[in-house]
């Protein structure tokens, strides 16, 4: 479970990292690796650390306080609007207050707007009310450049991701309307406390009964909340000419106030709380997307940093090889010998070299190695040609064998076959042969035949 601000920060860093130049995340990655094993936690820690370094945290704070201030400002404006609306509808004390008129002028707009909001909210999927939109628009205009723009975009994306945009806008709209209505109640409260009002209802052609009925039905619900309703006599007596009697004035003022509180303030409060609860619910359900490309790539990065890797010790030293050293020329007993080492390519050696040299059986496993060495000990050739497959790797075993074979001859040369093959490891062969002091020109077989014949 992450706090909203963590997710916001993560989102902002995500957006930031999608645009060059890249952030230097080495330290942040390390911090994240140390913090947890869990990818989501690591991502959040990394984002927090990166955001701190790149100014996004500051931008988050600034944006947050801007949002707070703007909401407070809007609420303050709403409050003032409400107060002045209340004062305007009550008028100066020279005239009695027309209760019906005052009630309609105070409640008509907020109620109509509430219904419109509700209808839009139900019908279209993204309506959150006009105040909310206006607020969003204004903030968007204010947070337009640098890290703040990134932070704002992250906010919008997160809000959208939580499918909470309309709840947000609704919450704002209701909050502002709530403050307007609260302003009305406060205005009325102040006015009723400090000024002397009398109340009437007026009609040209309706009967008293209509007003009695109207006043009582309007007052019924507020009555349940403790707001008094003028009794029938008072209502009847307040027609057209004001009744300047304390109890009547108190009753009417109570009735008016009750109506505004119950039919204006209360529905907004309910809507406000509902939006706030819905938001809370949505954010509870909000989780990080761990399978998008960004998170996956970072996950790989973390894995990479953790998984590589111990070694068992310092790398072994490079092999040092003795130079090949043969027998002295005067010890030689025969002219030439040919042997194929660890390859089946030597099967036609007889045809190629048989006339001029003794061809030994191909040499591969332990037994054949031993045999060949014994044979060479008998032969002691002046010239030894070793046939090799260039595709093989010149490994240590091969080189050791080569050295052992060469020690029984005066002169040793190497014929690499398959040198034109794409897998021929010529450079490795050259390096190894040079190590042990064998000629590295890999020779054509014609020249080698001539060499074997002693020319």
């Amino acid at each position: 479970m992450f706090k909203f601000i963590d997710l916001w920060c993560y989102e902002a860093v995500r957006l930031r990292e999608q645009t060059p130049p890249a952030l230097d995340d080495q330290q942040a990655n390390q911090v994240a690796l140390d913090a947890s094993n869990n990818l989501a936690k690591r991502l959040v820690v990394r984002a927090r650390s990166l955001a701190g370094a790149s100014g996004l945290t500051a931008a988050c704070q600034e944006s947050l306080s801007l949002m707070r201030v703007s909401v407070l400002l809007a609420m303050g404006l709403g409050l003032l609007t409400g107060i002045s609306a209340a004062l305007a509808s009550l008028g100066d004390t020279s005239q009695p207050v027309n209760v019906i008129w005052a009630l309609v002028s105070l409640l008509l707009l907020p109620t109509v707007m509430l219904f419109i909001w509700f209808a839009m909210f139900v019908v279209t999927s993204d309506s959150g009310g006009w105040f909310g939109r206006l607020w969003q628009f204004t903030i968007g205009r204010l947070l337009r450049d640098g890290p703040r723009a990134m932070v704002w975009r992250a906010w919008l994306q997160l809000v959208q991701q939580a499918r909470s945009e309309r709840w947000w806008l609704a919450l704002l709209t209701h909050t502002i309307w709530f403050s307007v209505l609260l302003g009305m109640v406060l205005g009325m409260f102040t006015a009723f406390s400090l000024r002397h009002y009398t109340f009437v209802w007026q009609t040209t052609w309706l009967s008293d009964g209509v007003f009695v009925q109207l006043a009582q039905s309007i007052g019924a619900l507020p009555g349940k909340f403790g707001f008094t309703v003028p009794n029938v006599q008072t209502i009847q007596a307040s027609g057209n000419v004001a009744l300047d009697e304390p109890s009547a004035r108190l009753a009417w003022a109570n009735w008016l106030m009750g109506a505004v509180v119950v039919f204006g303030l209360l529905p907004r409060l309910i809507a406000m709380v509902t939006s706030a609860l819905a938001l809370r619910y949505r954010y509870r359900a909000l989780s990080m997307t761990l399978n998008d490309a960004y998170a996956l790539s970072l996950g790989h990065k973390f894995d990479r940093l953790t998984m590589r890797s111990q070694v068992d010790g310092p790398p072994g030293a490079q092999e040092t090889w003795p130079q090949i050293s043969g027998i002295a020329p005067e010890d030689a007993l025969s002219d030439a010998a040919v042997v194929a080492l660890e390859t089946r390519l030597g099967e036609n050696l007889h045809e190629q070299f048989g006339v001029h040299a003794t061809v030994l059986p191909p040499l591969d496993d332990r037994a054949s190695r031993k045999q060949a060495q014994e044979r060479l000990l008998e032969l002691k050739p002046r010239r030894l040609l070793v046939v090799l497959d260039a595709r093989q790797t010149p490994d240590r075993g091969l080189v050791r064998t080569l050295l052992a074979l060469g020690s029984h001859a005066v002169d040793t040369k190497v014929l690499l076959q398959q040198v034109d093959d794409e897998r021929a490891r010529l450079s490795a062969w050259r390096a190894r042969l040079a190590d042990i002091g064998l000629p590295t020109d890999l020779g054509r077989s014609d020249d080698l035949v001539a060499w074997l014949r002693g020319r």
Binding site: Q18, F137, R141, R153, N291, A293, R396, S427
Partner: protein
């Protein structure tokens, strides 16, 4: 959530230069693991790489130095047996490891055998292109003497020179009937799964763990494809939504077209960089068809007729009528001004250009401006090419050195429903009041519905089908 009690330890052993490190690079998707070189003895110490499962290390691979002189080593070990002494093979190996001279003359082999004795199982890697020689048989003898399950891996089986038959026979003679054919350069798309599943056959008591690893590998592959398609859908929508207001004269239009093309290239380049990162490759792994990676040279050819035809974008009805003419002119404004004529001229001069149609921005119309958009054909080309890229990356081993060039890959198709894609990007093209408002607010207009739809269409591409399903063997 799988609970790992103890991480499995698997040593990768074999003759020198058979691609042990390459195999591990591909299996762990780490292109920088170890050191790879075409010379004997490149890896000179044991190096480990762990595979994570649910945030725990579940399996540790050990890359070992190559065995270079098994014939000599076997001789040496025989020489350690005193006459008349009866030692089984495992005892002989232990005798060797205890021998004070062992790590002098057979330093690398000593390290390998030490690691082998500490591991739960051994992967014996051979290059399937090599001949079977006595030294290989001796290696098998030595490894079997370690008394650990040995799973032979035939590496580079995708090569035309590979000959697996003699190898399989040798394995069988040593009593090893289970083996894996693999290729570090172009691994099977379910390569990791295959490896875990086969290991499960020789390590019966660890089968649950290996099964979990196999499942997780498949899941990761699926996640990867879907995340990549997400990015591609975003690219398509962004490019389709590019909209540049331009004054109605030829020079201005020409300039605007250039600018817009550059924008498209930049978007594609950044997309490709992200994809490469997602697939754990780097920009060294992919060579765009034309030039290199330097700024501004990026694949200028999305806008060329040749590329479009190569990618199989049909410039007929419906799909991309606009591209065929170089420009589509909104019927509403066609008769209205001379600008129409100059517009077509400018666009035709740089054929297949992006001028597609006019937006519905009424204010712009009043100011005598036109809106330039990227043509349908270009969006289709981008989608096709990058689906191919994804498919190619999915089949590329992390041991590969040659950069990938899409033209050369065999599967040059990436069929998906073109008209469905064009329908799906439709909303991004429309300049609705809501979108304009959103951009005023500072949001990047999101089309989550459109993105979902584009994603659906792209996921249906034929080459991606096998990547999102399980259990291919």
């Amino acid at each position: 959530m799988f609970k790992v009690d103890r991480a499995l330890q698997i040593a990768v052993v074999g003759h020198t230069n058979t691609g042990k490190t390459s195999l591990l690079r591909t299996l762990t998707r780490d292109r920088l693991f170890g050191e790879v070189n075409d010379a004997p003895g490149t890896t000179r110490h044991v190096q480990s790489a762990s595979v994570m499962l649910d945030d725990q290390a579940a399996l540790v691979w050990y890359d070992t130095p190559g065995l270079e002189d098994s014939v000599g080593l076997r001789d040496y070990i025989e020489s350690l047996v005193r006459p008349g002494e009866r030692l089984d093979n495992h005892d002989r190996i232990e005798r060797f490891l205890a021998d004070p001279m062992a790590d002098v003359s057979f330093e690398q082999e000593h390290r390998v055998l030490v690691q082998a004795m500490q591991s739960d199982a051994l992967l014996y890697v051979v290059d399937a292109r090599d001949e079977v020689l006595a030294k290989h048989r001796d290696e098998l003898f030595l490894l079997q003497a370690c008394a650990r399950p040995v799973l032979p891996v035939l590496n580079f089986v995708a090569s035309p020179q590979a000959d697996t038959k003699p190898w399989v026979q040798v394995f069988a003679r040593q009593g090893m009937h289970v083996y894996v054919g693999f290729d570090s350069i172009s691994p099977p798309i379910n390569g990791q799964q295959m490896m875990y599943d086969t290991l499960g056959q020789v390590l019966a008591e660890h089968r649950p763990l290996l099964n979990a690893l196999s499942v997780s590998a498949a899941q990761q592959r699926r996640d990867r494809v879907i995340a990549a398609i997400d990015l591609l859908a975003a690219l398509c929508l962004t490019v389709a939504g590019l909209n540049r207001m331009v004054k109605d004269d030829a020079a201005a239009i020409e300039q605007a077209i250039k600018k817009q093309q550059d924008e498209v290239r930049k978007h594609e380049q950044s997309f490709v960089e992200h994809i490469l990162e997602l697939y754990e490759f780097s920009t060294e792994d992919y060579l765009p068809t034309t030039e290199g990676w330097s700024e501004g040279q990026w694949q200028a050819d999305v806008f060329s007729e040749e590329t479009l035809t190569k990618l199989g974008i049909k410039l007929g009805k419906g799909a991309a009528v606009g591209a065929a003419a170089g420009a589509v002119v909104d019927i509403l404004s066609a008769g209205l001004s001379l600008g129409t004529g100059t517009l077509i001229g400018a666009a035709a001069g740089s054929a297949w250009q992006s001028v597609d149609r006019f937006g519905k921005d009424i204010a712009a119309k009043w100011r005598g401006q036109r809106s330039l958009m990227v043509s349908d054909a270009v969006v289709l080309a981008l989608a096709t090419r990058n689906i191919q890229l994804m498919a190619a990356l999915e089949q590329r081993g992390h041991a590969s050195h040659q950069p990938l060039i899409l033209d050369k890959t065999q599967k040059a198709t990436a069929a998906f429903d073109h008209s469905a894609l064009l329908d799906a990007i439709g909303p991004a093209r429309q300049q609705t009041v809501k979108r304009q408002l959103a951009s005023l607010v500072g949001a990047v207009p999101t089309n989550s519905a459109a993105a979902r739809e584009v994603k659906q269409v792209l996921l249906q591409a034929d080459v991606l089908q096998p990547l999102t399903v399980d259990g291919l063997h």
